[in-house]
């Protein structure tokens, strides 16, 4: 068994509003994919380290998102809570190829025999 990284094309840059987010369902997990004002793209599990709030629904500003439930501020790059709050959310690698967005998911796959 080896760990592999799978890159999946999830859509185009224009599918996400600037300073906004869209969700990607991955089995039971929801991944929030963010686009900043300067067109950088980040992906985090859609779950706030505080009490599980859906980060995809927050306000995006300067490389961070403010959780809609109790206003924790989470860094899009590191997934770490900012300021005095402590906690972190799982991040996923993202690549932009032209305007195609590729999301990297570490998966455990059967090695081909």
């Amino acid at each position: 068994m080896t760990k592999t990284m799978q890159w999946a094309a999830i859509g185009r840059l224009e599918d996400i509003p600037r300073r906004g987010a869209r969700c990607v369902k991955n089995g039971g997990m929801t991944i929030a994919v963010f686009r900043t004002a300067d067109d950088r793209v980040f992906a985090l599990e859609d779950k706030c380290p505080h009490r599980g709030g859906p980060l995809s629904q927050g306000i995006v500003h300067d490389g961070c998102v403010t959780c809609p439930l109790h206003n924790w501020v989470i860094s899009l790059e590191s997934g770490l809570a900012q300021g005095a709050d402590e906690g972190s959310t799982v991040t996923f690698p993202v690549r932009l190829e032209g305007d195609r967005i590729l999301l990297g998911i570490a998966a455990v796959a059967e090695e081909a025999a």
Binding site: C23, V24, N26, D38, R51, I59, D62, N71
Partner: protein, 814 residues
């Protein structure tokens, strides 16, 4: 017996004199204060920022009704003194004769209007008092309005910059070869011209104005060379003349101004004169600093104490936000003079010192003016500068090889260095007041020393002094900033959005120098609201700056599902509506249905993906969004009222429904909840709402500023109106006033407390014109706001919001 003191002119000089008088000897005089303007003393200097929209008139009033009352001043505002009879010792005015024991003439000066054809046409204004400012502001309201300012001196340029900020097309006509030639040399004049042109102001130097053209009102200005500039308003700012008519008619000795001695006595015993109307040792003054000296001396003279007024040097600053300019002394070329010049084109800095035998005669600073006070201090003291000639121009911080540190520069100022030129306050006085009176705020220092309380350009210096004296105990942020992205408070931001005509969030952030690249979750929703409110027809709502509930028009729940609350107008429903709700609940398996505290039904636990379809179904039954999530109009609760109830006096249900149908969809600074009860038993709980109505036999009692959430507060009574139509108009106008003035997230009760209940009554109940204007602006903005967000989304708007971007299946494909 107390003596009768009559003061003619309620201007800057007389206000200051009365302060000194009451401080030294309260009750020594019975004071009658005449003013030709229909208002009391205010800070005339600050009319420029008022014109620019950076301050309100209320902020520049120096003496209010309470102050006059506390000192028993008989105020005769709006009453011009027409004649003085010095034999009988009385003055004449519309109100009859007023006797005096002592008389002070403080009539200021009259703006000079050049004697050309058309000068009397409506639309030709001076720039002297609030009426002028109001006329200019009114003219600027017209789309594409044009202004011609005649005169490129201090006053003209402040007017031009302010009118430009108000969005007018502005041309400045100036007779001389460069701007502000009395204060600036040509090089600094050029830099200033370039700066103003960069702001879109057209400058025409060497302009000979020939006539104002127009039949019923000013339409254009014609120059000798044939050039014509169209104009909706023509501002004459070519100079002032001491207002001496009263004195001349009374036979006092008058030259250019009313001639006074060192005690400010005129040629007539018992008559003093102060201010711009005065001539002392052949000099007439046009800046406040020397006038304040006069005020101090005159107060002493009145009390029989010895004091003498002596001529003073004055320094000038231009009060145009973003332009730093300082000039003092004499800087004309002459063979026995030397000059030191420093230019830094990339930084837009120009400095010039004029010396004679190693003494400073004049200083012009453009772009960087921090050293103005230091140069001015040496100029007045005739300091020998030969020791530091080499580095003099680099300013105080460079002396002694030190680094450039503004705090060090202030620390190094001598104790008697003048900090506030307008009020003649020196460093030691400010430092002394801070320590003796334990002052910690700028307002406190202003109240006790007057430093920076007039034109305000020395505010930075005063703050540095406070910092120096108090160390970390001083926190210069006197206003609470909106958030970490700016130092400006909500009120300043709101005012500047209007004044600068800012119509997008990036424009606000750029112009107001936001510290972050795209704001934060605190300022963005606030800015979005301010722009929606101020430019209802032009602004494109920025959904990414709205909190999730307002973005998707439902309330987010702790588990990430949503609740949906449709409107039930006034709390009234029907079998058809209830059936539709029941069907929706079944079809989408909605886990909970609850009656809210706002007289309607909440469906909780709906999945985000289902929202558009839920709305589509509800829409078929005629439901629209209840905005239970909005900083906007929520519910209007009602009771059954006269239609059913044995005590009901009016149709409270009907009025509630009418209000809700009229006002739904409007965005407000915080949520707005209303209620209408049919009689004082008040079953709709109207007296704890943002706005409530209690119906009575004689009409409708309107209440406001209640709260029943985090705080509990009974409402204040606004007043009683007779008809339902009037009730609606008053409620709408009140809401609009709140929409325009409150800070984001500030509910009506907090806003009202800050503004004052009486002020609100005055604007909404007493001033019918204001009420109507508020009402009209609300109605206008509703044209763009009253769109059901649910039906928009059910038919596809923002559909990306409601479905996932992708669903991954990473299992290897077999």
């Amino acid at each position: 017996m107390t003596q009768k003191l009559v003061v003619v002119g309620a201007g800057m000089a007389s206000g200051r004199m009365l302060e000194h008088l009451f401080e030294a000897a309260p009750g020594a005089f019975d004071v009658t204060l005449f003013g030709a303007e229909p208002r009391g003393n205010y800070n005339r200097i600050m009319l420029s920022p008022v014109l620019a929209g950076e301050k309100t008139f209320d902020q520049i009033v120096t003496h209010d009704g309470d102050w006059y009352a506390a000192h028993d001043v008989a105020c005769r505002f709006g009453e011009t003194v027409t004649r003085i009879d010095r034999k009988a010792k009385v003055v004449f005015s519309r109100g009859g004769e007023t006797p005096y024991d002592k008389l002070v003439i403080a009539t200021g000066s009259a703006p000079f209007i050049i004697p050309i054809a058309g000068r009397d046409l409506p639309g030709v204004r001076a720039f002297r008092d609030l009426d002028d400012v109001e006329a200019m502001v009114a003219a600027a309201k017209k789309p594409n309005a044009k202004a011609v300012v005649v005169g490129g001196g201090l006053l003209g340029l402040e007017a031009a910059a302010a009118l430009r900020l108000r969005g007018m097309e502005v041309v400045v006509l100036h007779l001389m070869g460069h701007l502000m030639e009395r204060q600036l040399d040509p090089a600094a004049g050029y830099l200033l011209q370039k700066e103003l042109e960069g702001r879109g102001i057209k400058i025409h130097c060497k302009a000979q104005t020939k006539a104002v053209l127009g039949t019923d009102r000013a339409e254009a200005v014609l120059l000798e060379d044939g050039t014509i500039y169209p104009a909706d308003i023509v501002v004459m700012a070519v100079g002032i003349r001491p207002e001496v008519r009263l004195a001349t008619d009374a036979g006092l000795y008058v030259e250019r101004g009313i001639v006074v001695d060192d005690q400010l006595m005129t040629s007539e015993p018992d008559i003093l004169a102060i201010g711009e109307c005065v001539e002392h040792e052949r000099i007439c003054y046009g800046l406040v600093a020397p006038l304040y000296d006069m005020a101090k001396v005159a107060a002493k003279t009145l009390l029989g104490e010895k004091a003498a007024f002596r001529p003073v040097e004055t320094a000038t600053q231009l009060k145009v936000t973003g332009v730093n300019l300082y000039s003092a002394g004499d800087f004309a070329d002459a063979p026995d003079r030397e000059e030191i010049v420093l230019r830094d084109a990339s930084a837009g800095i120009y400095k010039r010192l004029v010396l004679k035998e190693n003494h400073i005669l004049g200083a012009v600073l453009y772009g960087e003016t921090a050293d103005g006070a230091w140069f001015f201090d040496m100029l007045r003291k005739n300091t020998d500068v030969s020791e530091m000639r080499e580095t003099l121009i680099f300013g105080q911080a460079y002396q002694g090889g030190g680094k450039l540190d503004p705090m060090a520069a202030v620390a190094a100022l001598p104790d008697d260095a003048e900090i506030c030129g307008c009020n003649g306050v020196c460093k030691s006085k400010i430092v002394g007041a801070i320590t003796e009176k334990s002052l910690t705020t700028l307002d406190g220092v202003r109240a006790h020393t007057k430093a920076s309380a007039s034109c305000g350009t020395c505010t930075g210096l005063v703050e540095q002094l406070m910092k120096l004296t108090l160390g970390d105990a001083y926190n210069p942020a006197a206003v609470t900033p909106m958030c970490g992205c700016t130092d400006l408070g909500h009120d300043d931001v709101r005012r500047l959005i209007k004044a600068k005509g800012l119509k997008t969030i990036p424009a606000v952030m750029q112009e107001l120098e936001w510290k972050t690249s795209c704001g934060c979750a605190k300022c963005r929703p606030a800015l979005n609201y301010y722009l929606v409110c101020d430019w209802p027809d032009e602004y494109a709502d920025d959904y990414q700056s709205r909190f999730i509930n307002e973005r998707v028009h439902a309330n987010i729940q702790k588990d990430g599902t949503y609740s949906v609350v449709p409107r039930m107008w006034g709390g009234v429903t029907s079998a058809k509506e209830l059936r539709a709700i029941a069907d929706v609940v079944d079809r989408f398996e909605i886990p909970m249905v609850k009656v809210t505290g706002g007289q309607r039904i909440d469906m909780l636990g709906i999945k985000k993906e289902d929202l558009p379809e839920v709305w589509a179904e509800l829409g078929k039954a005629g439901f629209v969004s209840g905005h239970a999530y909005a900083k906007g109009l929520r519910t209007v609760k009602t009771c059954v009222g006269s239609h059913w109830c044995r005590f009901g006096t009016q149709d409270s249900t009907g009025l509630g429904i009418r209000i809700e149908k009229f006002m739904w969809g409007s965005w407000t600074p915080a949520k707005v909840k209303m209620a209408v009860s049919g009689c004082p038993r008040n079953c709709a709980e109207a007296t704890c709402k943002d706005v409530g109505v209690i119906c009575v036999d004689s009409g409708y009692e309107i209440h406001f500023a209640g709260a029943a959430g985090l705080d509990i507060k009974g409402t204040e009574k606004l007043g009683l109106v007779r008809t339902e139509n009037e009730a609606l108009e008053v409620i709408v106008a009140l809401t609009q006033m709140y929409r325009e003035q409150a800070r984001y997230l500030e509910r009506i009760y907090k806003w009202a407390k800050r503004i004052g209940y009486d002020e609100i009554r005055r604007q909404i109940l007493d001033d019918l014109e204001k009420r109507r204007a508020f009402y009209d602006r609300f109605v206008f903005s509703q044209k763009f706001a009253q769109v059901d967000p649910w039906s928009e989304r059910a038919s596809g708007k923002d559909k990306h919001e409601f479905k996932p971007m992708a669903t991954l299946s990473l299992e290897p494909a077999e």
